[in-house]
C-alpha cells in the first residue's frame, strides 16, 4: 500500500467565532483519489479551506509529506505541493484565459507546460484572448484545474468540480481526473454528485457536523448505499 501523504488529525477550525470543524481525522495515500461526502454545511469545503490556508483559525494537526500545513503561511502552501481548486473556481474577470492560466508561478519542478495542459483540456485551446469569465461554467472549471497544474503541485484539493455543470462536461472532467490520477497525482475531492464520486475515487469519507463519521472503499459503496443515503439525507 502506498504511503500516507496527507495526515489530518483532530482538525478544528473557526470562521471568526463560528466553530465549523470539530476534530476531523482522515488520511490520503499517494496516488489515491479520496472524496469527502456529506450534506450541505457538513464542513467539507471548510476542511479544504483549512488545509489550503484560507481559513486561518485552526487547531489540531495536518501534515503533507511530513510538512506541517497549519504552520505554513498561505503563500507558501503552493510550495508544499498543494493545489487548491476552490468551489467558486476563482477565474479572474479582469484577465484573459491565457493570463489566468499563466498567473500562478511555477514553484516546484514538474510544472506542466501549456501544451501539456491543452492536451488534457482541449477545450481551452484557442481561447487564449477570451476574458476568463466569458467561458462557460465547465470551461472555467477546466481552466481552474489547468491553472494549478502549472505550479508543479502534485496534491490537488478539488472542491465540487461538477457543481452546476451539464452531464457532458461532467464526463469530460471525470476523464481528466482519471488521467491526472494515472499521472500520479493525489486528489482530495469534495463532491455532491455521488455518481461522479464513484467513477473517480478510491475511497470515501463521510462528514457530518465538522467530523468524519464513516469511511467506505469505492468497492464497498454499492453495498452501503442505504447507509450512505441516510448520511446524505436523501
Amino acid at each position: 500500500m502506498a504511503e500516507i501523504r496527507l495526515k489530518v488529525e483532530a482538525l478544528e477550525g473557526w470562521y471568526g467565532e463560528s466553530h465549523v470543524l470539530h476534530g476531523a481525522t482522515f488520511n490520503v495515500r499517494r496516488g489515491e483519489v479520496v472524496t469527502l461526502l456529506g450534506r450541505n454545511g457538513a464542513g467539507k469545503t471548510s476542511t479544504m479551506r483549512a488545509l489550503a490556508g484560507v481559513m486561518r483559525k485552526r487547531r489540531g494537526s495536518a501534515t503533507l509529506d511530513g510538512r506541517d500545513l497549519l504552520a505554513t503561511p498561505p503563500h507558501r502552501v503552493a510550495h508544499a505541493g498543494l493545489g487548491h481548486v476552490p468551489e467558486e473556481r476563482g477565474i479572474f474577470s479582469t484577465l484573459t484565459v491565457r493570463e489566468n492560466l499563466l498567473l500562478p508561478p511555477v514553484v516546484r519542478p514538474g510544472g506542466w507546460s501549456v501544451e501539456a495542459i491543452h492536451g488534457l483540456f482541449p477545450n481551452l485551446k484557442g481561447r487564449d484572448s477570451t476574458i476568463g469569465t466569458r467561458l462557460s461554467g465547465g470551461e472555467q472549471q477546466m481552466l481552474a484545474m489547468a491553472r494549478i497544474l502549472r505550479t508543479g503541485c502534485d496534491f490537488i484539493l478539488l472542491d465540487e468540480p461538477t457543481e452546476g455543470l451539464a452531464p457532458v462536461i461532467v464526463e469530460q472532467i471525470g476523464k481528466a481526473l482519471v488521467q491526472l490520477k494515472e499521472k500520479g497525482f493525489t486528489v482530495l475531492l469534495v463532491e455532491q454528485n455521488l455518481g461522479f464520486a464513484q467513477s473517480a475515487a478510491d475511497r470515501h469519507y463521510v462528514m457530518e457536523q465538522g467530523r468524519i463519521v464513516d469511511e467506505f472503499t469505492n468497492e464497498s459503496l454499492p453495498a452501503n448505499m442505504g447507509k450512505l443515503n441516510r448520511y446524505l439525507g436523501i
Binding site: G53, S93, L103, P104, I148, T151
Partner: protein, 295 residues
C-alpha cells in the same frame, strides 16, 4: 491675426497648451491614485505631498548635490518611491483590515505633516528651479510660440501614462496586479507574495507623483503647499472619471485640464471652479463617474 469666437488664436492656443500641461499633471496624479486605490483600496490623501516632495527632492539634488534635471528625473521617483514604501510598510499596512476611514485619515495626517515639515524647514515661499538647458527656448509654430519645455512635459507625461497603462493591461506583472486587485486571497494561494505587491504598488504610485513633481518644478515654484491645492482638484478629477479604469483616469485628467484652460479664455473668473462644476454635474447626471463601475 486669426480669431476664434473673438479670441486671438495665439491666446486660445496658449491657454490650450497650459490646459494640456495642467491636464498632464492631473492625469499623472490621478493615474497614481487609481493604481493605489485599485489594489490597496486606500485613497492616498498624501499623494499631493509626495508630488511636492518630488519637486523638493529635485531642487535639493540640484542645490546640494549639483545634480541636474535629467539625473533628477531618474533619481527622484526612486527616492520618493522608497519613502512611500517605507510609509506603507511601517504604518499604512497595519490599517488594511480596518475601516477605510482610518487609512484615509492616516494619509491625511501624513499630508498635513509633510506640508508642515517642509514649511518649517524651507518657509512658505517658493523656490525656483531652472529649466534644463537642453529644453530651453521655443518652437515658433506661426500661430503661437510653444516653449520647448512645456512641449516636453506634455509629451513625457503622455508617454509615462501610456507606458503605465501598457504595463498594467498588457504584461504578466500587470496581470498579477489586476488579479490581486480582484481576489487577493486567491492570488496569495498561488504562491505570489501579495504584501510585497502592495508595498511596491504604493511605491510606484507615489513615484509617479514624485515624477510629476520633478517635471513641475521648472514650471511652478517649488513650495510646500503646491501639493495640497493640486490634490483636491485631482480628487475631483477622480470622482468625475471614476476609478474603474486606468485609461479613464488618464483621459479624464487631460480633458479636464484642457477644459479648464478653455474656460480661462472665455470665463476667466470662474476657471478655477471648472473642475468642481463638472464634478457636480457628473454627480447629478451620472453618479458612478464617466468611467466608473458602480458605487
Amino acid at each position: 491675426m486669426t480669431e476664434i469666437f473673438g479670441v486671438p488664436l495665439a491666446v486660445l492656443s496658449g491657454q490650450v497648451m497650459i490646459g494640456l500641461i495642467n491636464g498632464s499633471f492631473y492625469a499623472l496624479l490621478s493615474l497614481g491614485l487609481a493604481i493605489i486605490f485599485g489594489l490597496l483600496n486606500v485613497i492616498n490623501f498624501a499623494h499631493g505631498a509626495f508630488y511636492m516632495l518630488g519637486a523638493f527632492v529635485s531642487w535639493g539634488l540640484l542645490t546640494y548635490g549639483g545634480l541636474g534635471y535629467w539625473a533628477s528625473l531618474a533619481l527622484t521617483p526612486l527616492i520618493v518611491g522608497a519613502l512611500g514604501a517605507l510609509f506603507e510598510r511601517s504604518m499604512l499596512r497595519r490599517l488594511y483590515g480596518l475601516d477605510h476611514l482610518y487609512s484615509l485619515l492616516l494619509t491625511f495626517g501624513l499630508a498635513l505633516a509633510l506640508e508642515g515639515l517642509m514649511r518649517w524647514i524651507y518657509g512658505a515661499g517658493g523656490k525656483s528651479y531652472p529649466v534644463p538647458a537642453s529644453l530651453q527656448g521655443v518652437y515658433n509654430l506661426g500661430f503661437m510660440v510653444l516653449p520647448i519645455y512645456r512641449a516636453w512635459v506634455i509629451a513625457a507625461s503622455l508617454v509615462v501614462c501610456v507606458a503605465a497603462w501598457a504595463v498594467i493591461e498588457k504584461t504578466p506583472l500587470g496581470a498579477r496586479l489586476r488579479a490581486a486587485t480582484e481576489n487577493p486571497r486567491l492570488v496569495t494561494a498561488f504562491g505570489i507574495n501579495v504584501p510585497l505587491m502592495l508595498t511596491l504598488t504604493y511605491a510606484a504610485g507615489v513615484a509617479l507623483a514624485g515624477l510629476a513633481g520633478v517635471m513641475a518644478a521648472p514650471i511652478y515654484q517649488v513650495s510646500p503647499n503646491m501639493g495640497s491645492s493640486l490634490i483636491i482638484i485631482v480628487f475631483a478629477v477622480v470622482v468625475i472619471g471614476g476609478m474603474g479604469s486606468i485609461m479613464g483616469s488618464i483621459v479624464t485628467g487631460l480633458a479636464l485640464g484642457v477644459l479648464e484652460g478653455l474656460t480661462k479664455v472665455f470665463f476667466p473668473t470662474a476657471s478655477a471652479l471648472t473642475v468642481f462644476i463638472v464634478m457636480i454635474l457628473v454627480l447629478l447626471l451620472r453618479p458612478a463617474g464617466l468611467f466608473g463601475k458602480g458605487k
